[in-house]
Every structure is written in C-alpha cells, then in structure tokens.
C-alpha cells in the first residue's frame, strides 16, 4: 500500500488524450483498493490549449490538485508542455516526455518561436528523465492517436500496479473497436523501458 500519496501530473495539448489517460490510470489504481482523485479541466481550456490532468492515489487522498513542486511523476505528451509544467515536479521526481513538438499558435503565426534544445535543457535539470518517441510507437500500434497509451505504458513500468490491472482499465475505458490498438500501444510503451 502507498501510505505516501503518489502524485502524477499528465500534461499535453488539447486533443492528445490526457483526460482518457487520467481515467485509465485512476481506474487501474482504484482496482487495487487505493483512494484515488483526478482533476481535469473542460470547456474553453480544451480547444487546442495546454491541458493538465492531476492524478493522485494512496491510502487517503485529500486534495485532487497537485501542489507545485510535489509531483512524483510528470508525464508530458509534448516537449513545450513538459517545460511549462516542470514547476510541478519535485526535485527527485521522474519526467517522462514524449519527443514530439506541437507548435502553439503564436509560433505558427510567427509571433514567437519554438525554443530549441528543450530536451537537453530538461535533461540538465531533471535527474530521472525518460524520453519516448510515443508518436512513432503509436503509429506502429496502428493509430497516431494512441500516443497516450504508449506514455501510460512507460509510466506503468515505474509504478507498482500489476500489468493486468492496466489492461483491464484500458479495456473498460476505450471503445471495443479501438481496444486492440490501445493495448498494443500500451505494450510498446511498457516494453520500451528495460
């Protein structure tokens, strides 16, 4: 049991599937009898903007919201969002970052530029970093949209939740026609950590 609460922050760009990833993570944790809380945002915030899902589990969880500097894991679906949410990660926390660049509108319109060398900067500042080409693996699994499952697979290897709990949570959270692709993407993420 986790006497200490585990705090996981998922971040990405609206439409990348952080909400679904949060739901699967929470179901997997709940299946082990842990207390679980998830905080999402909906509405205006979702239209292609930065999105954050907070997931916390353990024996007893109070706040659904993760306080900055206390996240055990930061799972970033996009590099720029990894940097934006870095203040949430605690000093000894683990960063899992998708090596994908989605330029925000100010970059697209030329009002600003996408910073270079973000991964190097992140590596220099965070001790434990896992960089994953989740888009490539998702396509390998059969759908570019399965980036969230690949990243969950990577995260899963860091947590003490048995693999079958994850697979059960995925199976009950996605439509049956996408189950195989999602499970495959999760497996590719899981196997990318040795």
């Amino acid at each position: 049991m986790h006497d200490q609460v585990i705090s996981i922050l998922l971040t990405g760009v609206g439409g990348q599937g952080t909400v679904l990833a949060g739901r699967i993570l929470s179901r997997a944790a709940a299946s082990l009898g842990w207390d679980v809380k998830v905080a999402d945002l909906h509405g205006m915030a979702q239209r292609g903007g930065s999105v954050i899902t907070h997931v916390r589990f353990g024996t007893k969880v109070y706040s659904p919201v993760i306080t900055q500097g206390t996240a055990d894991y930061l799972v970033a679906f996009e590099k720029l969002e990894a940097c934006r949410c870095l203040p949430f990660l605690k000093g000894e926390g683990v960063l899992i970052v998708n090596d994908q660049e989605i330029p925000p509108l100010p970059v697209l319109t030329g009002a600003s530029s996408y910073p270079e060398g973000l991964l190097e900067m992140l590596r220099a500042r965070v001790k434990k970093v896992a960089i994953v080409d989740a888009l490539k693996k998702a396509k390998e699994a059969g759908s570019a949209k399965a980036v969230n499952m690949v990243l969950l697979g990577v995260l899963a290897r860091h947590l003490s939740i048995p693999r079958e709990c994850w697979e059960e949570a995925i199976s009950t959270s996605v439509k049956s026609e996408f189950r195989e692709i999602n499970l495959k993407a999760f497996t590719l993420g899981w196997e990318s950590i040795t």
Partner: protein
C-alpha cells in the same frame, strides 16, 4: 460497489438514487455533465432547456406538480435563472427541488468568478457544499430530503474542482419516490402582492427552522486535532486544509447557509485561534465576524482565483506555526522543483482547423469593423491574430450592446458595427436583444454563427438541431423564420467557407441603414467529416505569410514557404482563397 466518478456524474447519480423524475439545464462549464449523465438514466426525464431561467422554471413546475426535480447550471447561469429563484424561495415547492450551481473559481471557462453562495443567502435558501464526489452524491440526496422537509428550493453549490474532479463513490440503489399529490394552492403558488407578503413571513420562519437544523445536522462536523488552532472551512477548501494543516482542528461545514451559529461559537470558544479558509468571497467569515466572533481569513488568503494546499500553507501557515509548527505539512513548505529560466511561448486555446467561425472573423478584421461579441467558441475571435472582437459580456449581450453603441454614437457609427452571436447563444438569450433592435429602430447588422450545435461545452443539442437531450427527433427551429418573425426583413444566409461572398454580404448589409441578420451557416468542424486536404505548391509561395493571418493551427511558415499539416487540415480552403500567389491548391486523387 465503488467507482471512480466525476463530481458531476456523482450529482446525477445522487439525483437518480433520490428518485428524481425531471431534470433540466442549459449546458455550461463546469456543470454540463450532470444532465448528460441524467439523460442516460432510466426513469428520468432530462432536457436541454433553452436557457437557465427556463430550466429552473421547468424543474419548478415539475416540483410543484409533485415530482422530484433538479436544475443544473454554471454560476453565471444562476444570474439568468435568478428571477425565478428569488420568488421560488417564497412559494416553496411540493416535491423536492434542487438547484445545482457549478461555480468556476479561476475562470477556467467563464467570464467571471462570482461566488454563488451569496445567491443562497440572498434568496434565503439552504446551500450545501460537497468536498468530493462521494459527498456530491450524498448531499444531492440530502438536498432533496431537505427541500421537502422545509418546503424550499435547495442550492447544491459545486466548484470546478468538485464538478470536474473524480474520486471514489459508493453506488446505491434508486429510491422510488411516488408523485406527490397536486392540489391547487394559489396563496402559495400565485405570487400576487397580498400572497407574496404572507409568503415572505414563511421564508423568515423557515430560516429560523433551518438555522436550528444547521446546529444538529451531520453535514456540519468537527474533526478535532490540536485544540489550539481551529479552521472553519467548506467544499474543496476542506481538502486543501486537511492536506496543508493536517494537525489542526477543523469545523467542516457541509451546510453553509444558514450557518450553525452555536456550533461555530462553541468551536471558536474551544480553540485559541480560529481561521476561515474559503475561496472567493468571505461568505462564512463576514457572517461569523458579524456575530462578534474572532476569526481571521481574507487578511491572509486571496479573494481572487482558486486555492491549493500551498496557498493555504503560505496564507495562514505562518500564523499556525507560531502556535505549533508541527501542524504544518512540511513537504508543502519548500519547493525544490527544477526550474527553466526561459520564456516559453504561450499555448492559448484556439479555433480548431476548419472552424467555420474563422472566415467570418478574418473578414470582420479586414473590414475594420467594431464587433459586439458574445459567449461561445467564437469568443476566441478576440485573440491574435484575428483580434476581431470589441466586447463580450454575457450570453446574448452582443445585440443590446450593439444597439447601445449605435444610440450613443449615431447611425453613422453603425455603418462600421456588427453584433456577432452563435446559434445556441442566440436561442438562449439573443432573441430579445434582436427584438429590441427592431423595436427601437436600430440599424445594425447581426451575424449569427450557426454551427448547428453548442460547441464550446461539447456539442449539446438545442432547438435549432432538431434533437433533444436524449437524441430523440423534435421540431427543428428555423433561424430564418425566427428572425423574420422578430421583424427583421433583411435576412441572408452565407457559407463562411466562401470568403468572397461572405465579405460582399457583410459589407453590403453593414452599409445599409436597416437592421439585418446574416446567418453564417456551416456545421462545427469537429462534427463535420472534412472536405478534403490542401497543400502549398512551394515554387509559387512568395513567403508573404498572409495565410498566417487566419490563425489556423494547420498552417505554419518554415522560413521559406508556408506549410500545411495534412493531418490537421480539414479542407476548408480559406488559405487558398486568400493566398495572393495562388500557391495553395486542393489535393486531388488518392491522397485527398
């Protein structure tokens, strides 16, 4: 059976378990999922009402007729429904009536962050504040019971972090609550002045009874810790207090109106110092202070935005530490997170690729018009690079504001002025504004952006879609007929993907000194299948970057030429229409 449940789904579940029969709402973040979920339950009639006022009236009618009923809305929706609310507080109900107000501290998807607990006090009705999904479900059930026991509407007040957080919920079974008999009672339900005067006395008597109930209800409870420090709190703030100050004594209020004066007095007397921790307004603090009791809160804690555990620790932590430093959660005091000392480009929400609103705002900016705007996805037309909105106040305000501008500055000003409103918003609160333009001889042009759905909140149906909340076919309201019926003679429909014609029509109508309506009609790009793909023919691109003025997420410039992201492109073709070099072409053949 326990399930991880969204707060809003827990409210729906609680209502269902409490035997609710009728539920009504207008969609609005963070309340939307309540009716979406209730529409899935058997034995419940759930509707998307035209607006929140109607939703509360439908629920009230159902309650007066003997059925347990619920109305759900976002905080600003209660403003719309407040006319009904203030007098329903006088009439009382027959079967239980619950009003769910989902407030949005920090304005994640709203135009203000008003604290609707003040409405409960204003209307003199009970206010319940759950602190997680389980409580959301339980308090919904309690709300129905209270409503019937005290013959009053009851407010269940959520905030975004309750409504849109998920936590474990123990599921129960539905209690079959038979319809209560309906008998005529004009002195109770017909609020003529003579009857209203009598009912106001009932409101005051009821408040006294509710205050007595507040003293004994388990909704309000003390969790004793170190008796030197007490904290009075409610809702999500309770969770932050428990996390930030694990050792203090806590008075957790589930019923925050009316307050349990004696319980609070005893609690404060039992501790050495007492703080109030509440987001937004000092709702609890001011009432408690008015009784001459020593509490402190807003001098340490912000009145703006939402809290988290660190806000609590930083706010009152130093005062608590003076008594006993061990009461603070040590891990929240320090922040050793890694830091990057670079400025990151912002990632604001944007109109989707293929959004039918984009072309209209592109034209409005090009024509340098003054734009009285409204509430919906299209409010993003105010952002760069479109920058084409001057005002956005509340649902339906665009037309009244446009008329007021014209009356202030004269008809000539109206030759450079439009009101812009979405289809769902127009049907919600726009028809009266348009009628006012006609009646008071305004000459402005109103553009209705008809994307065939309530897009911002996740594509809910409305009277113009032809479907109900449970996806049953219904009468499809014809916008052209509606605006003609309201007295508009000049009505035109344009395709917002056809920039040339749309611009011609907008220019002509704005120039005409008569009120007019232009319906820019095309289905929301998230619902439409897309009309193909476009690509840039590199050798023709002159690097002028004109196309970037559209603010399309699928378009970028690589330093030499424009590039279209073929995955995101939906084929709207706006970029091809504005490219001066003719360098953007439709992809034909099997790659399309």
């Amino acid at each position: 059976m326990r399930e991880v449940m969204l707060g809003n789904h827990a409210v729906a579940r609680g209502a269902w378990e409490a035997g609710v029969r009728v539920a009504a709402a207008y969609p609005g973040t963070p309340s939307t999922e309540i009716i979406e979920a209730l529409a899935q339950y058997p034995d419940v009639y759930a509707e998307w009402s035209v607006n929140e006022k109607v939703a509360l009236e439908v629920a009230a009618g159902a309650a007066i007729a003997g059925a347990r009923a619920l109305a759900a809305m976002k905080h600003v929706g209660v403003n719309v429904a407040s006319d009904a609310l203030m007098t329903l507080a006088y009439t009382g109900i027959n079967a239980g009536l619950v009003l769910v107000s989902a407030d949005d501290p920090n304005l994640y998807s709203s135009q203000n962050e008003q604290d609707n607990r003040l409405y409960a006090r204003f209307a003199q009705i009970p206010c319940l504040e759950p602190a997680d999904s389980q409580e959301a479900k339980e308090m919904t059930k309690v709300a129905f019971a209270l409503s019937e026991a005290f013959d009053t509407p009851v407010m269940l007040r959520l905030t975004t972090r309750i409504a849109h957080s998920q936590s474990l919920v123990e599921l129960g079974e539905r209690e079959e609550v038979p319809l209560k008999p309906y008998t005529k009672a004009p002195s109770k339900y017909v609020m003529l002045p003579a009857f209203g005067r009598e009912r106001h006395k009932v409101v005051e008597e009821r408040r006294a009874k509710l205050s007595a109930y507040a003293e004994i209800t388990p909704l309000n409870r003390v969790e004793w810790g170190d008796r030197r420090v007490g904290v009075i709190t409610s809702g999500i703030s309770y969770q932050y207090v428990k996390e930030a100050l694990p050792g203090v004594s806590v008075l957790k209020l589930g019923l925050t109106y009316p307050l349990p004066k004696n319980l609070i007095r005893q609690f404060i007397a039992a501790v050495d110092v007492c703080f109030v921790v509440e987001e937004l307004e000092p709702f609890l603090e001011e009432q408690i202070s008015s009784w001459g009791l020593p509490v402190r809160g807003k001098e340490f804690l912000p009145r703006i935005g939402e809290f988290d555990p660190r806000v609590v620790v930083k706010g009152i932590g130093p005062k608590v530490a003076e008594v006993n430093p061990a009461l603070l959660n040590e891990s929240l005091l320090h922040d050793n997170s890694p830091s990057l000392n670079i400025t990151l480009p912002a990632r604001p929400p944007v109109m989707c690729p293929g959004c039918p609103h984009r072309g209209v705002f592109y034209i409005l900016r090009k024509l340098k018009l003054t734009v009285a705007g409204d509430i919906g996805c299209y409010t993003l037309g105010a952002s760069p690079p479109l920058n084409a909105m001057d005002t956005c106040i509340c649902m339906g305000a665009s037309m009244g504001v446009a008329l007021g501008m014209e009356k202030a500055r004269g008809q000539e000003f109206s030759r450079g002025l439009v009101a812009v409103i979405g289809d769902s918003t127009f049907l919600h609160a726009g028809m009266t504004g348009l009628l006012d333009i006609v009646y008071n001889q305004g000459t402005t042009t109103v553009i209705i952006l008809d994307n065939g759905t309530t897009a911002m909140t996740g594509h809910q149906d409305h009277p113009g879609t032809g479907y109900t909340a449970s996806r049953a076919l219904t009468t499809k309201i014809d916008l052209e007929q509606v605006v003609r019926g309201l007295g508009i003679r000049r009505v035109q429909v344009v395709d917002p993907y056809d920039l040339t014609r749309a611009q011609e029509v907008i220019s002509a109508e704005v120039a005409t000194p008569e009120p007019s309506v232009i319906i820019a009609r095309r289905l929301c790009a998230l619902l439409a299948k897309g009309t193909g793909k476009y690509r840039v023919v590199g050798m023709y691109c002159r690097s002028c970057q004109c196309c970037l003025d559209l603010g399309c997420p699928a378009l970028t410039f690589n330093g030499e030429e424009a590039v279209i992201d073929e995955i995101q492109c939906t084929g709207c073709g706006l970029c091809a229409q504005i490219c001066p070099a003719g360098a953007i072409e439709k992809v034909v053949g099997e790659n399309a």
